[in-house]
Amino acid sequence: MTTTRDPALVAADTGRDLDQGAFAETAYDFTEDPTTTGTLEIADERDLGSGSREMTLNMGPQHPSTHGVLRIVLKLDGEVITDCDPVIGYLHRGTEKLGENHRYVQMVPWTDRTDYVSAPQNNLGCVLAFEKLCGVEAPERAQYWRVIMAELSRIASHLVWLGTHALDIGALSMSLYCFREREIILDIFEAFCGARLTTNMMEMGGFSRPIPNGLIEQIRDFLKIFPDRQMEYQDLLQANPIWMARTKGNGIITPQAAVSYSLTGACLRASGINYDIRKAEPYLVYDQLDFEVPLGQSGDTYDRYLVRMEEMRQAIRLITQCVDRIDGDDRPLMAYESAYVIPPHKGTMTTAEDMQRHFIWVIKGFSPPKGEVYQAIEHSKGELGYYVVSDGSPMPYRFRIRSADFVNLSSLPHMATGAMLADIVAMIGTIDIILGSVDR
C-alpha cells in the first residue's frame, strides 16, 4: 500500500478497507487469549483431558478393509488423522526383474499376476507394447475381440471394486450381488480361454485359437441381464442414507491436486479432468466405437462411484457394438504374415519347415529391433503403461510396469490428512487398489 494515496481512494478501488488503524481495532487480540497465555496447569489439563496427545495406530497389513496387504501407519489426534503413511511392498514379487530374465512371450502370463482381478487388460497392455515394438498389428476381428474381453474385464474389475468398497462401508449384501454377476463374466472367460482368473488370453498378433461356438450368445445373455442388475445396485446404494452420507464430501481431490498427484482413471475423471486414453490416444478400434467418458464435478468419493458406474454402462455399450459387428465374422484372427507371432498350428503339425520354425520360435524366442516403447492403455484402475527397452536380444532389456493404483495410492495421505478415522476405509476403497498391482 502506498502512503501517498488517500486511504479512502484505495478502499474505493479495491473494495477493502486497508486502513491500518481500522484493522487493528477489529483484529482479535491474541495476547488476551487464556489458552495461549495460560499457566502450566491449564496446559497439562488440556493435554490429558481432551485427548490431544498424538496416538500412532497401525492399520493392516491383515486388516480386511485394506484390500490385501496394505499397511497404513496413522497418527491420530482423537479421531482426526494428522498423518498417514502407507507402507507397501508386502506382495512385491519383482515382476520387472523377472521381465528382464524371460523371453517376450513368457512375460505375458506374468502380467496376469499383477492386477489379478482384471487379467485380460494387463495382457492387453503388455501385448500391445510388444506389438508396437515389433511393428505387428492384429487383424481387425481380433481387435474387436480384444475390446470385448477388455471391457468385460473392466466390468469384472469394477464389480470387485463396488462389492468390496460397499462392504467396507457397511453394505454387506452388495458384495454378494456383485460377485454373482462377476461369476457370469468369469464363465465367459473360461469358455473363451479355459481360465477364469489368470487368463493369459492375449497373444502377440491376435488370437491363435478359434472362438468357441456359442460364445457370442453367452455374451449377449450377459448384456441382457446386466443393465437391470446394475439398476438394482443403484437402488440399493443411492437410496441408502448411510451410503450417501459416507461417500458425499469424502476424500475430495481438486483438479489441480489430481494432476499434481498424477492420478489417472476414475480418480482423475471424478475431479473433472477429461483424460481417457481410449479417447485421447485410441489404441484398438476404440476410435470406431461410440462411447462417452463420464466426468465428475466435485472429486469426492461419491463422484468416483458415479464415474465408475457410468463406465460400466459405457462398457456394456462398447461390447454391444463389438458383438454386433463381429457376429458371423470369419476373417482371420491372427497376423500370421509377421515373423514375430507364433506359427500356425496346422502347418506345425504337418510340414517339417513349419515345425522347425515353431520350434525356434518357442525355444529361442524372437528378437525385436533395438529401441524403446511406452504403451499406455486405459485400465479399469487408470493408466496402465508398459515401458519396454529392447537391446535386440530375445529378452527385454528393461520391462517397466507403470501400474495406475501404485500412483493413485500415493494420494492417500493427501486425502486422509485432516479426515476422520472411519473415513479412511472409504478412501482406500475409492482409490480401487489391488495390492498385486501396487507392489508388482
Binding site: 507397501i88 498427484y261 479432468i273 529401441g371 524403446e372 503403461g385 515401458y387 507403470r402
Partner: protein, 287 residues
C-alpha cells in the same frame, strides 16, 4: 513463435550447420546416437519463472464448457489459432492433424518440445530420437527439473502431466553414463507424449521432480529402491517396495543376480523313497 522460427525449423540443416562446430558436443555415447544434436548457439534467455519450482496449476484445467480460448505466445505475442480449446483438441485426437501434426513429424526438429528447449534452454538438450512414433529427448541431468518446468509452462507444449518416472541401468549397452532416468510426460492439452532421459553415473544425483508434481514422490522412491539413485530435494527418499532394513543392494541393477546375493539352501532333490514302477497299461496285450 515468429515466422523466422518457423522457417528455420522447416529447414533445419540449412541454419543449424553454421552453428554446430562452435558448440562443444557432450562427450557421451548413446546407443541410438545416429542423430547428431544440432545445438543452436542462440543466447536465448531463460524465463525467470523457470528457476522457482512450485506446484503449478495450469489455467486450462477447467473442463467445464468454458474454453481456454486462444493461446498467446509469450515470445512474439501472436496467438495460435488452432490450439487452446480443450474440446477441439480432444476431438482432433483421432487424426494427428492441425496442432498435433508437429508432434508426430518424422523430422524431430519440428517437435514442439524440442523447439521450446532449443529456444529457451539450448544447452540442456543432448540428443533427440524418434522411434515407433515416439519422441525421446536426452537432456542434461542437472537441468532436468528446469526442463520439466519449462515444458510444463510453455503453452506450445503444456506437458502438465507426469505420466511415469523410472530408470534404466545401461550397464550392458554403453560405457557411460550408467543410468538413465526416464520421465514420461503427457500434455493434457495436445494429447501427446514426450519422453525425457537424463543419464547419470552411479553416485551422481538428479534434481527431484517432487516440487513440480507430487506424483513423483513414490515414483522416485521406487527408483531409489530399485536402482539406488539419489534425487536432490526429495522430502522422504527411503525404500518403498523392499523392506526398510533391506541390505542386499538394489535389485534392478544389471549386476544384481536374479536370486540375490544371499546364499540359499540347496534342497536335497534326490529321491529318498524308491520309486515304485507301475506297470505300463497303455496298450492292450503288453501287460
Amino acid at each position: 513463435m515468429s515466422d523466422n522460427d518457423t522457417d528455420r525449423n522447416r529447414q533445419p540443416n540449412a541454419s543449424t550447420d553454421g552453428n554446430q562446430p562452435d558448440t562443444p558436443q557432450p562427450n557421451r555415447k548413446y546407443i541410438d546416437d545416429e542423430t547428431p544434436s544440432p545445438a543452436i548457439a542462440d543466447p536465448a534467455e531463460t524465463i525467470a519463472a523457470v528457476t522457482e519450482p512450485t506446484a503449478a496449476p495450469a489455467e486450462h484445467l477447467s473442463t467445464s464448457t468454458e474454453s481456454a480460448g486462444e493461446i498467446v505466445d509469450p515470445d512474439s505475442g501472436r496467438t495460435h489459432p488452432e490450439g487452446g480449446d480443450e474440446s477441439s483438441a480432444l476431438t482432433s485426437a483421432a487424426d494427428p492433424s492441425g496442432a498435433r501434426a508437429d508432434w508426430y513429424d518424422d523430422d524431430v526438429e519440428r517437435h514442439p518440445a524440442l523447439r521450446v528447449l532449443r529456444d529457451l534452454m539450448p544447452d540442456a538438450v543432448i540428443a533427440a530420437v524418434r522411434f515407433r512414433n515416439e519422441t525421446t529427448l536426452h537432456v542434461e541431468p542437472q537441468a532436468l527439473r528446469e526442463v520439466c518446468i519449462l515444458l510444463q509452462r510453455d503453452p506450445r507444449t503444456s506437458l502438465t502431466f507426469l505420466s511415469d518416472l523410472t530408470a534404466v541401468d545401461m550397464l550392458r549397452l554403453r560405457e557411460a553414463p550408467r543410468f538413465d532416468v526416464v520421465v514420461q510426460l503427457y500434455s493434457l492439452r495436445y494429447r501427446t507424449r514426450v519422453r525425457l532421459k537424463a543419464g547419470i553415473e552411479d553416485g551422481e544425483s538428479v534434481p527431484s521432480l517432487v516440487p513440480i508434481w507430487n506424483g513423483a514422490n513414490w515414483l522416485e522412491r521406487e527408483v531409489y529402491d530399485m536402482f539406488g539413485l539419489q534425487f536432490e530435494g526429495h522430502p522422504n527418499l527411503k525404500r518403498i517396495l523392499l523392506a526398510d532394513d533391506w541390505s542386499e543392494g538394489h535389485p534392478l541393477r544389471k549386476d544384481y543376480p536374479l536370486r540375490g546375493w544371499s546364499e540359499y539352501p540347496v534342497y536335497n532333490t534326490e529321491r529318498t523313497v524308491a520309486r515304485v514302477r507301475t506297470r505300463w497299461t497303455g496298450r492292450a496285450g503288453t501287460a
